[in-house]
Amino acid sequence: MDIDHFSHKRKSRSVRLILLFAVLLLVGFVLSLNTGPYSIGPFEVLQTLLGEGSKKQSLVLFELRLPRMVIAVMIGAGLAVSGAILQGISRNGLSDPGILGISSGAGLAVLLFVSLYPATNMAPPFLMPFLALIGATATAGIIYMLAYKKGHGISPTRLLLTGIAVGAGLSAISIILTLQLNPRNLEFVVTWQMGSLWGSNWKFVLALLPWMVILLPYVYRKANVLNLLSMNEHIAASLGVSLQRERLALMTGAVGLAASSVATGGGIGFIGLLGPHIARRLVGPQHQYMLPITALVGSLLVLAGDTIGRSIMPATEVPAGIVISLIGGPYFLYLLIRTKG
């Protein structure tokens, strides 16, 4: 009965936290709508949203800021949940699509496209996530194969080290390709790699939306499997979970979320690491509660990063990825020092 009581308390606390974060995200959204080179007051925002604003106001809000912020929210959720899955299946709190090299693989595929078809200059928005997915899947496959040892399976540490090495190799190839671009394409690629939400129009929102709408609920349905996988391989196997198949399915989900996010947002790091970590601290390791908070925290972080990046130096936007790595990097180092083993 005590356990029941406890879990009930925990559940209501988690639900409250999810609601709280949803409200926070909403507030952040409104604040972000107000900020930018062309400032619009909160009241005017409301007016414009209701269709009463001036022409310039509605142009800035509907065509520039709103799609960009919607993308920020989706990317944040995608990257953070991707990180949560990777951490769950590798049983290592330091996993993240960036550190494992999956983001570099997605980026390289996009870079290849830009350098092979310079005439089109930018890949059409619907093609980008698919290109990125091919790159990310290939990379994930290579890392998995290289980290796999017969009779030992995948050790979490070997997976991370292999990811770091493969990531370094891929970025060497990226550098060769980058140097052969003409200055205009180079400008695009370099800013994209830094994680600027460059595709800020409704087309990109539409291109990204199906990935999130399909993959996020799918992963949420697997919350129980993730609970088991992240505990102990033997317990999971004895409870009748088909380990290999579930792990592969979840890995595919993680790769898809990361790839589509990277295709639109570029190399935004640390979200996959910070989102799940903060969520776990708040509600514990149960994925049913942890995953929604992870998604919300990720969204908040990217939204905040982008808003800050837009407002420190309005003339030259600092990409969200840089803002986030300046905040996330030190936090990661702090985690590294604090935790044992």
Binding site: S155, G167, A172, I175, T178, P183, E187, M194, G269, L336
Partner: protein, 345 residues
């Protein structure tokens, strides 16, 4: 060292001085051969006799003689120096931190030097190279300080895995700031070329500025080598043998800072030399740093001189980034190290 030689079972003190001597002699021959090959290869086809004449019968009206004297010789020599510096820096770090995957590139020290160089490009683009080198030391020192600081403050020290993670993150923070600055000051293009790494711009003047630093750094490293061997056995053992471990570690950090800073200011972000070379050397000559350091210096020089010939040849007449060539060699090696380890890191 736990990676290549388990310290148990008395294998830890194995050394092969004769092998080291062979390696040094062969390495010096390799460097000389490499310098010669590097001087005759390039876009303009130059025969060996022209090289000979350019040295002993220099004719300033002969275009080939000018190319050899003012471009190819300093480039080849810079390659050898930088290779030696990176390799020795890596060897020192591996010995002092007792960590088999320590390397100036992987640990964020190159990124630190690069970060300060970007600041220089942005705020003081006309600074003379002598001062740029000094700023590069400061940046490398920043990287060394961060890694040492993390290892110092973390519980139970940093395992190789955690050190690799810390290095990756320190690099990404520093290069993030560098990129932001380069965006604001519109030096993207310069930064991209810089981080690719390459020796093609090295001139006599730069060689003359960095040479004393690198040669001096390697000499101090050799003086420290005995203490580093003892330190590599474990800090308690070293302290028990009456060594001033703090002093040795501090001096070693300064040497790493000077070697990495001088090299990075000349060739940009080249990693993995310091990882690969000391491992191969340690495998061949054993665990005594009195041999590892000079052998690493020679072999590092050989590696970079030949990699630079590759940079010239692979896509003639274009330069292939040196950093990428070394990464192509270094990454499989890193993967091999990650697989070879039996224990969990």
């Amino acid at each position: 060292m736990s990676l290549s030689q388990p310290i148990t079972k008395n294998t830890s003190l194995r050394t092969r001085p004769w092998m080291a001597t062979v390696l040094i002699v062969a390495g010096i021959c390799g460097i000389l051969f490499g310098l010669g090959s590097s001087i005759i290869t390039g876009v303009a086809n130059i025969s060996f006799s022209t090289v000979w004449n350019s040295i002993f019968h220099y004719d300033s009206s002969n275009e080939h003689h000018v190319i050899i004297q003012s471009l190819r010789m300093p480039r080849a020599l810079a390659g050898a120096l930088v290779g030696a510096a990176f390799a020795v820096a890596g060897a020192i770090m591996q010995g002092v931190t007792r960590n088999p995957i320590a390397d100036t590139g992987l640990m964020g020290i190159n990124a630190g030097a690069g970060f300060v160089l970007v600041l220089v490009f942005a705020f003081a683009p006309r600074l003379p190279f002598e001062s740029i080198v000094l700023f590069s030391f400061i940046g490398a020192g920043l990287g060394v300080g961060l890694v040492y600081g993390l290892a110092y403050f973390s519980k139970n020290g940093l395992t190789p895995l955690r050190l690799a993670l810390a290095g990756a993150v320190v690099s990404s923070i520093l290069s993030g700031i560098s990129q932001a600055i380069s965006l604001l000051f519109q030096i993207n293009y310069d930064l991209a070329f810089w981080s690719a790494g390459g020796i093609s711009t090295a001139e006599w003047f730069q060689v003359s500025v960095m040479m004393p630093w690198i040669v001096g750094g390697i000499i101090v490293a050799m003086i420290l080598s005995r203490s580093i061997t003892i330190l590599s056995l474990g800090e308690e053992i070293a302290a028990g043998l009456g060594q001033k471990t703090r002093l040795v570690k501090g001096l070693a950090a300064v040497v790493v800072m000077v070697l990495a800073g001088a090299s990075v200011s000349t060739v940009g972000g080249v990693g993995f030399v310091g990882l690969v070379v000391p491992h191969i050397v340690r495998f061949l000559v054993g665990v005594d740093y009195r041999w590892i350091i000079p052998c690493s210096a020679v072999m590092g020089g050989v590696l970079v001189v030949f990699a630079d010939i590759g940079a010239k040849m692979i896509a003639m007449p274009y330069e292939t980034p040196l950093g990428a060539i070394i990464a192509v060699i270094g990454v499989p090696f890193f993967l091999y190290l990650a697989r070879k380890e039996r224990r969990e890191w």
